[in-house]
């Protein structure tokens, strides 16, 4: 006997993502979900930009890592409220984990929350965690051919930060081909080129975050 069921497989996660959105809205918080491969520079970008951003905004961090507290230790000197999620082998953060983590943060005293997802281009793109924006961070050593191999992330992200652009000449990174592919995949994605190490593009990154936070306010998503 056949039964039509039409059951969405990630429905439970999607419901919890809606709970996360409601919680963020209630507290007037804008949350960014940072996704990249391991080693693209998520932690470095936060290390470089949060000292500037924290002058103006009250910031919390949710740090996702397979194992170890190394990234969290690196960000500790920022003296910002932070929750570490060790996924113990799981390749992404899901809404339930984020919900649990948010409850550990002083939500009444925050404007922005940065989620540093587990280093992975596939799974984190798949799981909605209730964020205001997904941010894809990509670094030039990964090669210009990757967007077409990991289309979902580039489709889902609002912003693409291309890091380590200072290495383009050394790596022979074909930036035009890269940008063509990104444009085909997502013609509406924003792009920032940066070199965290050299401090290039950090101002643009901060501008983008501020604009996103303002947009969220204007939409009533954030007070």
């Amino acid at each position: 006997m056949e039964f039509k069921v039409m059951k969405k497989v990630l429905e439970a996660n999607d419901h919890l993502a809606a709970d996360v959105r409601a919680l963020l809205q209630e507290h007037g918080i804008c949350m960014f979900n940072m996704i990249s491969s391991a080693g693209a520079g998520k932690t470095s970008l936060l290390e470089k930009s949060l000292p500037l951003l924290k002058e103006k905004y009250r910031i919390g961090i949710i740090e996702g890592d397979l194992e170890t507290d190394r990234d969290a230790m690196r960000l500790k000197s920022l003296e910002l409220p932070m929750v570490l999620l060790n996924t113990q082998g799981a390749c992404h953060l899901d809404s339930q984990s984020i919900l649990n983590a948010l409850k550990e943060l002083p939500l009444n005293d925050l404007d922005l929350v940065f989620v540093e997802n587990v280093g992975n281009l596939v799974c984190p793109a798949e799981f909605d965690i209730g964020e205001n924006a997904k941010i894809a961070l990509f670094s030039t050593p990964e090669g210009e051919d990757k967007p077409m191999k990991y289309p979902l992330l580039f489709r889902q992200a609002s912003l693409l930060v291309l890091n380590k652009v200072d290495l383009c000449p050394v790596l022979d990174f074909q930036k035009d081909a890269f940008l063509d592919d990104v444009y085909k995949l997502n013609p509406q994605i924003d792009l920032i080129e940066c070199s965290v190490k050299q401090g290039l593009g950090i101002d643009l990154w901060i501008d983008w975050l501020e604009k996103k936070q303002k947009d969220a306010c204007a939409l009533g998503g954030v007070r």
């Binding site: 006997m1 039964f3 990630l10 969290a72 929750v83 999620l85 113990q88 390749c91 798949e126 995949l185």
Partner: protein, 158 residues
């Protein structure tokens, strides 16, 4: 499976700021044990997460429909989901072992990406991952199909 949060204490004096979770090879999930072999096979990944969700859903559906056995389940997978069929089937079958749905066949049907262009109101199937309208070069598009991950139907006996 949600992971447990560990609060990071910011007291400057403390040395051990937070606890680390137990080793990932331990019992990660109370309902579905991921064995060492599977973790070592690198399968605690994308398809494994999806397979876990599918198994849980099927067990729930089986109970809801009062089925005593489940022969097959048909899954609709949108092209954007990046699901590798053989990986998903392997993960699924591994998780089903010694459960009420051991032996259930997982049938996977891929659905191509289809978009609607708000500019010229046309509908097209995405070719070579290009999300630009082939008719008017518009970029204001909406999904008609391509992100599905749905258990479309199940076949079983009451």
């Amino acid at each position: 499976m949600p992971c447990k949060p560990y609060r990071l204490e910011l007291s400057p004096s403390g040395k051990n700021f937070f606890h680390l979770g137990p080793s990932f090879k331990k019992n990660i999930d109370k309902d579905l044990l991921i064995t060492d072999e599977l973790v070592l096979a690198g399968l605690n990944m994308h398809e494994m997460s999806l397979a876990k969700n599918i198994v849980q859903d099927l067990l729930t559906l089986m109970e809801r429909e009062k089925l005593r056995c489940l022969e097959s389940a048909t899954l609709h997978v949108g092209a954007l989901r990046q699901v590798e069929k053989s990986m998903l089937v392997f993960a699924f079958e591994s998780l089903c072992k010694e459960s009420p749905i051991e032996g259930t066949k997982l049938l996977i049907e891929y659905l191509p990406c289809k978009m609607h262009c708000r500019g010229c109101e046309s509908t097209f199937e995405v070719q070579e991952q290009c999300y630009i309208c082939p008719h008017c070069e518009g970029i204001d598009l909406e999904y008609i199909q391509g992100k599905e991950l749905i258990i479309e139907s199940i076949e079983g006996k009451r």
